[in-house]
Symmetry: C2
Subunit: 322 residues, 2 copies
């Protein structure tokens, strides 16, 4: 935990809010800004809601990520979930629970990162909460809301004959994490930057929905694990084409070696690119095909394969992989 400078405990809650709230720009959808019991957001008939939390020592290390990095990343991963339903993010609520010894300077840097990510996406900060925590604990919890103009794109809609496609990079965040662990960040700064603050292709989500995507997810836990979720929810077999991933693997091989690069591409989490299935012949700009969808054969269970074969892999599980 970052200490030094001004500890949080030296400010009361009102003073702290006066330092924080001006960082957040209003949007046209924000009808009542934070500061009352609650905020008021202009909405339409359907609103998407999702939430995701990051914890110091588990989701970030201060040695590797600045407060601003953590702020940008927690917003990005929440907004990616809104986009993956086919929605336009409109608002977030942010809760900081922290040891009162945490440095105010870290908090203000974190707030600047939150605010920048929100401004980039045209998203309003609708509110938040500040609470103190036991020594050494810092966590940030974000809830994101979004506007859904059409039908939601679920994980359960993939159909026989569809194409599996990806929008964005594969394996970059995981490669970045491995480089940070190896103290070799300079081998591929782009990967490390993606690990620190991914920039999900948010506009591609609603565009894919409008183009007819049959299923969609953002890549939180790796291509095989997230793709497997689509396969099981849809009752289909997804067959990833190994050759289609060759450029992704090649892009990482110089930095982490070919074997690790393949692991990163297949199982690397925190990427926050989008994967989706489309009817054959439909592939919106910015998406590339990486596999096919078929009905399971007799005695075959819904699953994800690579070149027709089951590939062992692990993924991130919050309580088990600790």
């Amino acid at each position: 935990m970052m200490t030094g400078g001004t500890p949080l405990r030296s400010l009361d809650e009102d003073e702290l809010l006066r330092r924080i709230l001006p960082a957040f720009a209003p949007t046209d959808e924000l009808l009542v800004a934070p500061g009352d019991d609650a905020a008021v957001l202009r909405t339409s008939e359907r609103t998407i809601a999702t939430t995701d939390t990051v914890v110091l020592g588990r989701d970030w290390l201060d040695a590797w990520s600045s407060g601003a990095d953590v702020g940008r990343k927690v917003i990005a991963q929440n907004l990616a979930d809104v986009a993956a339903m086919g929605g336009h993010p409109t608002g977030v609520l942010v809760t900081l629970v922290a040891d009162p010894e945490l440095s105010l300077e870290w908090v203000l840097d974190h707030v600047a990162g939150l605010a920048a990510a929100c401004a980039d996406a045209g998203v309003a900060v609708l509110g938040g909460d500040l609470s103190s925590a036991p020594p050494g604990v810092v966590m940030v919890s974000v809830t994101a809301l979004g506007r859904l103009d059409g039908e939601p794109v679920l994980r359960s809609g993939a159909r026989d004959g569809d194409v599996l496609a990806v929008c964005g990079s594969l394996g970059l965040a995981d490669a970045g994490l491995r480089l940070l662990r190896a103290e070799a960040a300079d081998r591929m700064p782009e990967a490390v930057a993606h690990q620190r603050h991914p920039q999900p292709p948010l506009a591609a989500g609603p565009a894919a929905a409008a183009a007819g995507a049959t299923s969609m997810l953002d890549l939180s836990d790796g291509l095989l694990r997230d793709g497997g979720r689509i396969a099981r929810a849809s009752g289909v077999v997804i067959d990833v084409t190994g050759a289609a991933l060759a450029p992704d693997v090649a892009a990482l091989t110089g930095a982490v070696g070919a074997e690790v690069a393949l692991d990163c591409v297949l199982a690397g989490g925190e990427e926050h690119s989008l994967i989706a299935t489309f009817p054959a012949g439909v592939l919106p700009d910015g998406w590339r095909a990486i596999g096919t969808v078929r009905a399971p054969g007799e005695a075959e269970r819904p699953t994800i394969l690579v070149d027709g074969r089951q590939v062992s892999h692990t993924g991130w599980d919050h309580f088990r992989d600790a």
Copy 2:
């Protein structure tokens, strides 16, 4: 932290979700239930959003509150904020960040409390997150959404000539806390129950808005502190009538003594009753007048008084009162 039985770490996230999600009943507004990237809620033109977090050791003690109590309370305090804007609560998102040694039995009891409070209020659970935390840490963060049919009732709308009124009890939760501290819960079980799981008068919020309330807050931090917020935001002087509080003080005196009872009524937090100002002559069912609103005199600052006098008091501040 409650340990023993089955530790959380013995289940993976999917297994845990299979134990948790069936507790939550769908509502008519819930268009896509949790389990995908995000949930989808039916909304209207204006949506209220607020968030509030509780931390073990700070907001509850296991010796005093069951998991279910904590669940009911964190929902209640969030929904009270929606009601205090004049809205109808429609959905919540719930995040549990916990030491993996936490007992699964505590979590399931907690979930039952969350689910019961949501069912009572007709509110859907839209999603959540599970994350592991350092040893001994358990925290629950809730975001609540609500439908606003008319104009929001802000803290800034109180006007010269209005009446200050309250809907619900005063000081009960604080008296309950003091009885728990004194190991004398049996002196007033009703107060202890209100401390453990308050039941805010949720329907009174939108009813007050419809009746013309000019300002409204839920009592989180005590009558003087929350009333002072209305006074400052509205640029008025609020004069509480001491005699109007006599029944509240009398109700607590047998359990905590007259002096402490007055403290509880004036400054007790976590009550989650509603206070509001109404134009003279307007007082909806269930509300009772406890003061008046006037413009500040020359060289007088906006403030809250009791029988014309400034009363010293403290209130709850998350970082300072630790």
